[in-house]
Amino acid sequence: MADKVSLEEIGEAMYKMVEEFAGKKKFKPGELGKEMIAQFGEDRVTKKDCKEALKLLMNSGRLVYGYYGGTSVEIPHVEGAAKDAGEK
């Protein structure tokens, strides 16, 4: 059986993906999970692992949830409406 990937490693790969596509594509949490399974293989990463890894990222504040019609995963930043309202 293939070695399991640690949650930290999955989280890091998720973060990199969100960072790389920032401004080009908004990932939904489920999509990120599917990307991770595709990247590491389903024998090494499960959906549950991806959820836990994302939870760690969210709890640490490295990533945040955004809502633009549907929920997406984002790197914290001050977006348009918040900027207009003077948020920093």
């Binding site: 945040v64 549907g70 003077g86």
Partner: protein, 400 residues
Amino acid sequence: MADEKERKTPLLDELEKGRWPSFVTDLKKIAERKPMVKDLLGQLELSYKEKKGHWKHGGLVGVRGYGGGVIGRYSDLPEQFPDVKMFHTTRVNQPSGWFYTTKALRELCDIWDKYGSGLTNVHGSTGDFVFLGSNTDVLESIFTDLSKAGWDLGGSGSDVRTPSCCNGPARCELACYDTLDMTYDLTTTYQDELHRPAFVYKWKFKMAGCPNDCVASIARSDLAVIGTWRDNIRIDQAAVKEYLDNGLDITSDVVLKCPNQCIRLEGNELSIKNEDCVKCMHCLNVMSKALRPGEDKGATILIGGKAPIMEGALLSSVLVPFMKMEKPYTEFKELIESIWEFWDEYGVARERIGECIQRVGLGNFVEAIGLEPIPQMVSQPRDNPYIFYEEYFEEGDEEE
């Protein structure tokens, strides 16, 4: 400047006239101590004048770790109305059946008065206790104070929305299962799904204790759990006689109004042909002392209801005609999780489960989640089932 804005609300002032309580009067009262509400009145007046909304919604606001519970709202005229440039909504998970003590209500209002506009929506259409209007910088404090007092945020975004239910057995003799307990159980079981959006779109549960469906679960939830029974309606003939003695015209008001004509009144005796009953509830509602649901109680599970956003409104269809609803609700939870698995795999962005099922076909959906198709899977009583029974066709039939 604020005083000037306060004075000039001629269109809103119209809504204070007449016999009914006015939200404008309430807003003006709160505006005396909350500058935010003064600007809210100003912006609303402008919206009425221009026939145009001035709110933007969405964004990244929330509390750390959670993806739901806070809905970002911003004015698109921040310079003109600086005190509502941020006016976020916070959803507080309501108790099952919306039962509060006055102490609990004061606690919520005190927290909200401390940090926000003081305006509430009790309750929002999702069921939550809603705080209307706060700045971003107080969100964590609101959440901390709520948590310390034993409250939690509700759902928003692509997650499980705060489950809600009718009063159930707490106040209603017609309840066929404990809606309050089940709602609480689902809320605690699916905490992650509620606070950490992981779906393609929103998911709503609503629990109704009987087919009266007082929470309108059939139209307002993706998965409706509607209490029912599968044995006979219980009849208290002495109470039937009492209704007659008190002047109720049972023939006109009950027998003739039965949609399936399955009730008879012979002398003082009422009889029901239970196999023809479609659980419309009319007779039980009119003669609540004489008629009771049967004793073999459970619920019908329906799927696919939603309001008009995106693809138009849908009413739910029967998925499971009867399921016992008893702790720990294992069978029900297994069903939900298999549906979520399917939806996660085949649902597309912003597609509710009802729309997803319409796209892939109900028959395919049922097969994928491992349910045996049965004739009771219908969109309404006495309707044709939506399953195409291929086994009814003999080999070679298609060629004829």
